[in-house]
Symmetry: C3
Subunit: 310 residues, 3 copies
């Protein structure tokens, strides 16, 4: 199972910044291409007050900080240069939808979508949308949010594809800032299936693909959850991707590049389940030969050996 | 706003050691100079039992460990070689003044000051003193401590300058060892002004400059606190510096180099406030092209681009 | 005191993986040799479901994951190539002996020992055994476990040497995943001596050496504990080694390479105590010039300067 897409972790929640400029990003897109990655997904265009492009909407309405660089423009240009697809990740307020003000989150993002499409929609590399609100369970008004935002993305852009990347509420679901690694009350296969059946039912018209994060369950639990994810996606005619996390959730330092053995196990599980595509969170910190984490360069080498044998 | 001074984080509380020898320090002083840093400030000459120079006083009275290298000598020599100013940071017992034994902390440091000036006062690069006890509020006998130690430093050394580097007791004031990032009971602007008015009133004769750490409040709160700091410093005829932290307080890994955007915002706030000078904690881990954290080298590049445009 | 042996931290509990292939391991064995390390100790052959060699026993009985590489074979080959000794670390279930099912832990490892000796016993570099269950106190059936497993290792292999590496239950005994650095209820010298007298009495026929980890007590407490360790080892005719930890236990990032000054203090304490040998946990992350932690390369340089002066 080969990884063909990666998130770009700008704006980050919990991964320290590498402070790359255009030259480093340009080189990284080359590295991605060299292992078959043809798509990049902006993880979110903004979080709280930090934003990735100079959004008049967000600076005015949310007091966001004027960014020093227009990363959306940069990534679109580099995607164009390297013949890659760019997906725009929506704004995550980090507060409205987390405090049950889903309509406020929707309203803001409606304006962001309008603004962004007007500003960047002419780029040939603008190929899709990522609905950046991350969930694992049927949470508040999330179905409505995904459906409305997905619909607006598609309506405005001539039906460009949309996707989400939820997590499975497994035993490794703990805050990145917590000093624990696991929790007691993991979701069961049955609960997972019931809730996602309902969610997919509500969003499948406006969300083309679902890429579950693969890092929150034990490795031997992957097959069980992947089978459900695949079956539900087929039922609702959605694409089923895996979001193969390339960072390690089992260590006290949160987070460094994953042990290759673990990545291989997760990709193999996705292959066995017959998933349509593998993407990763994310190449530039955890799998890139120019990452500040030198373990990533070695993971890159191990991964290259692996895909050569596929 | 250009950074013209940096702390040297020896002895460190919470930043892992880089294990540099003379060659690496020499190269780092060159890197500092190349971006306009002309002053280095030893963050503290000792903490608990670890000390930066073979102090007979501290080895005898506090059971401190004999150090393998005389870092004070090394830094003074390198400062001389590179035409830079060295400020000596006092000893921090980590216990006496923290347990309300301020007089004991003062007595010890009186002897340290005597010892150090006698041992190293002849260096032309010995240009000032840093009062290393860090506070954010009007704490116990701190006014008395700053005043007495500052006075003795100045008396013995022909009035060489002294400074302190407190923090603002904002919402990001949490222990570096804690897994949390924020606290609830942040100081208000009013409390901050009242307490620092009183502190400055008690110390301004013996402390020439105050360099508040800039990392404990939200970025949009900087202007409010900076305005007070500047106004109070002017009232008491002290210099007002900013201590621009070059590490990131918002991430689970405590700490890696800061996102350039954040550093820029903090320096711009200091510029708007009309501060007299910007220093940083600290160059060698977080802003140096030879830092073990490779993100620092990229931050160095971004910073160089920034100051070129000033 | 020169370090002549190192653990190989595969399978790791809490140190992120470097993702090395054969070429990197080969180079690392060369680096080890260059500073006088002639022995490598596999820290454990497996933990929970992760294993270092394709063990039919562990895959069948414990549902362990088939590893992508046979690390035991790789390390034995490289040890042979570089003229080094390899010690095999037993399997640590991470659960049976931790839940007072010592017999189950013993039974499993009896089969592992049989399997491993049959599979790899012909390697000339197979020179000993490491009993991987780590303790600090007289815990449950640990004496019985060490004695029985040590005996079986020796019986099957023509009396190859065995060793253990316990920790001292000092104030720095906290979980690597915890955000604290110290605990209140440290063991006293008297308790330590009483318990280890009893343990050594029960195991000395089957365990040739004990290598206490040196990182859990304050630096000025080392002499006291080392004197006891040495005296007890002599009493029971065991070799007394120090396991000089090359990572720093005093920092929020758990763990990065130790400050050289600390390593030197610990090695000097072992020298003063007249220990028979110094080994480390571990070279490849914390002391290697090719470590992903660049601080390790500088520690390597400082360490080389140190041993040159011995």
């Amino acid at each position: 199972m080969k990884i063909t897409g990666t998130f770009l972790d700008e704006i980050s929640i919990d991964i320290p910044h590498q402070n790359w400029g255009r030259a480093e990003w340009d080189a990284d897109f080359s590295h991605m291409k060299s292992v078959g990655i043809d798509s990049v997904y902006l993880i979110r265009s903004g979080l709280h007050r930090f934003i990735s492009y100079p959004s008049k909407v967000l600076i005015k309405e949310e007091g966001c900080y004027e960014p020093p660089v227009d990363l959306v423009q940069l990534f679109l240009e580099l995607a164009e240069k390297h013949g890659m697809k760019f997906y725009f990740g929506l704004y995550d307020s980090g507060k409205y939808w987390a405090n049950n003000q889903f309509q406020k989150e929707i309203d803001l993002n409606m304006k962001v979508i309008d603004e962004v499409w007007k500003k960047y929609g002419h780029f040939k590399s603008f190929k899709g949308w990522y609905l950046s609100q991350e969930i694992s369970r049927r949470t508040g008004g999330i179905i409505d949010l995904y459906a409305k935002l997905g619909k607006h993305c598609k309506d405005i852009s001539g039906n460009l594809p949309t996707f989400i990347s939820p997590w499975i509420d497994g035993k490794k679901t703990v805050q990145s800032f917590s000093s624990t690694l696991t929790k007691e009350d993991a979701v069961t296969l049955k609960q997972h299936e019931e809730e996602w059946d309902e969610i997919f039912d509500g969003i499948s018209k406006f969300v083309d693909a679902v890429a579950f994060q693969d890092g929150h369950v034990e490795f031997h639990e992957l097959d069980g959850f992947f089978e459900i994810n695949k079956r539900l996606a087929r039922k609702y005619n959605m694409e089923c991707w895996t979001n193969a996390e390339t960072f390690d959730r089992d260590m006290p330092i949160k987070y460094l590049p994953i042990k290759f053995e673990k990545l291989r196990m997760k990709l193999e599980a996705a292959r066995r389940a017959g998933f349509d595509k593998a993407i990763t969170f994310e190449f530039s910190h955890f799998l890139s030969p120019q990452s500040a984490y030198l373990q990533a360069g070695h993971l890159f080498d191990r991964y290259k050996e692996y895909i050569k044998r596929l």
